[in-house]
């Protein structure tokens, strides 16, 4: 039997339509399966220290700005990178500034305030061997650099 052009086109069209339907079904099912397997990550609950008013004032006092004769203090600035050679937990910004002032290697520092989102970073002091070029605004950080850098 000789096939007419109409029949050939209709057959091709049928294959295309069937393939599209099958493909969309498979893709839709894969999407559904993946959506069911999505794992919801629950952030850990905050720990709860029971402190006195004096405790909280003492901790907050460590976040207040302190001046320096040899360092330019930059409030609400986080230095990114810069060759961190020391990371230490300190009692406050003053201790971090002092650590950088007395260390000739220290060209810059960054201090994370006690209200940093990540508990492990709170009241941490990073001493840097060079002044980083990249900075980002952050209300939970104070940074500083040698005057003239």
């Amino acid at each position: 039997m000789r096939l007419s052009r109409r029949r050939v086109l209709a057959s091709l069209g049928g294959f295309v339509a069937g393939g599209a339907l099958a493909t969309s079904t498979v893709l839709g099912y894969r999407y559904y399966v993946r959506s069911q397997r999505r794992i919801v990550v629950r952030p850990p609950l905050q720990d709860d220290w029971i402190l006195t008013v004096a405790d909280r004032e003492a901790i907050a006092a460590g976040d207040k700005l302190v001046n320096s004769d040899t360092l330019e203090i930059l409030d609400n600035i986080d230095f990114l990178g810069g060759g961190d050679y020391s990371s230490t937990r300190v009692s406050g910004l003053g201790e971090c500034i002092e650590a950088c002032e007395v260390d000739t290697r220290c060209q810059a520092f960054t201090f994370a305030r006690s209200n940093h989102l990540l508990p492990r970073k709170r009241q941490m002091c990073w001493l840097k061997a060079e002044t980083p070029k990249r900075t980002v605004s952050s209300i939970t950080h104070v940074s500083g650099r040698r005057l003239g850098n």
Binding site: L45, D47, W49, I50, T52, D55, A58, S91, R122
Partner: protein, 366 residues
């Protein structure tokens, strides 16, 4: 022991007898010392367990009134038509040749198969009807309780010179723990809880612990991890029920519903908060609550209780104050399944005390 049909005074002589049986000094029964406002130091004894088959082997062998049979399961209690007496039971030895054992008229039957086993045997005992023996009021298996444990749900930082109160010399191997004082417990009106304290090093990765240890205590501090062992309020919806499948002896298996309610977690949270506030106010130290451990990491203590609870009212209990199953003249239950409330303490001492008291009661009936 409110809501129990007996008081601590009723059990006191039997607690002493229990310490003798368990070979520990009775000093552990009542020792406590002040810790901080609202809390007392009350350590708990963790002596090596006795092995009854070893430590009392001679007593069993020499007794004319004790006949020990090993390797046999009890699967079915048989009751008379009026459901006033147990007339016998089915014994299934390892060889699985089940046999019927008939009780003599003067004999009593005491089930002592554990917090789960007692309920399982009763629920399996249909005795020719739809209602299991002892379950005429649908109370067997209900009021299941456990001891939720929250490991390291708290942390206390104290001066390095701090020492927990001294214990009597005969106290023996123990775990340090503090508990709410009677006055605080009455004031809170909630469940009971104990907080064990395990001394550890200071963690300077925590900026506040670093502040407390170094700035507040001059660098001379120590820390304690705190683990809560709490009471679950008795809830009739926490229960064991029969389900499909049987164990090798033919007992139907159990399915368990045991939900730790918000009451328990919030009570632990409240007590920790009060302890922390009192430590801070007194200058004795500072406390941190690990909310993740408290609310999301609860573990069981392996103490199943309450499934044949003791009470005066047959409509919300299974046994009376003498551990006798309501309505039955000769059927008794021994073990943690009779506990009306769970407390926080390991149940063995109370199990033995109640069993000793039951023994006296049965001797009086003889």
């Amino acid at each position: 022991m409110k809501s129990w049909p007996l008081t601590r005074n009723d059990l006191e002589p039997y607690y002493v007898a229990a310490t003798e049986f368990l070979r520990i000094d009775p000093v552990i029964l009542n020792f406590q010392a002040p810790f901080t406002t609202g809390f007392d130091y009350r350590p708990f004894s963790v002596r090596q367990p006795i092995r009854v088959s070893v430590d009392y082997a001679e007593a069993f062998e020499s007794s004319d009134s004790i006949h020990v049979v090993l390797g046999v399961s009890i699967t079915n209690l048989l009751a008379n038509e009026g459901r006033t007496r147990v007339t016998g039971f089915t014994a299934v030895p390892l060889s699985n040749d089940a046999r019927q054992v008939t009780l003599r008229p003067a004999q009593h039957l005491v089930l002592a198969a554990g917090g789960m086993g007692n309920a399982q045997i009763l629920l399996n005992s249909q005795s020719g009807s739809d209602v299991a023996v002892g379950n005429e009021n649908d109370q067997v298996g209900r009021f299941l309780m456990e001891h939720p444990h929250n490991y390291n749900c708290g942390r206390a930082v104290m001066p390095a010179t701090f020492r927990l109160p001294a214990r009597p010399a005969k106290f023996g191997v123990h775990v340090d723990a503090v508990v709410p004082s009677d006055a605080l417990f009455e004031q809170m009106g909630k469940i009971d809880v104990s907080f064990s304290m395990n001394e550890v090093d200071i963690n300077t990765d925590d900026n506040i612990e670093n502040y407390v240890a170094n700035q507040l205590m001059g660098g001379d501090a120590t820390a304690f991890n705190i683990t809560a062992r709490a009471e679950m309020p008795p809830d009739p919806n926490n229960r064991v029920e029969l389900t499909f499948g049987k164990d090798p002896a033919g007992l139907s298996l159990l399915k368990t519903t045991c939900v730790v309610s918000a009451d328990t977690m919030l009570s632990v949270d409240d007590y920790l908060g009060i302890m922390g506030q009192n430590l801070a106010d007194s200058g004795l130290g500072r406390l941190r609550i690990d909310n993740d451990a408290l609310y999301f990491r609860i573990e069981g203590g392996g103490h199943t209780m309450g499934t044949t609870r003791m009470g005066e009212n047959a409509h919300n209990s299974v046994v009376d104050g003498n551990c006798r199953v309501h309505g039955y003249d000769n059927l008794y239950v021994a073990g943690s399944s009779v506990f009306t409330t769970g407390g926080f303490a390991n149940p063995t001492l109370t199990i033995v005390a109640l069993a000793t008291r039951l023994g006296d009661h049965l001797a009086d009936l003889a």
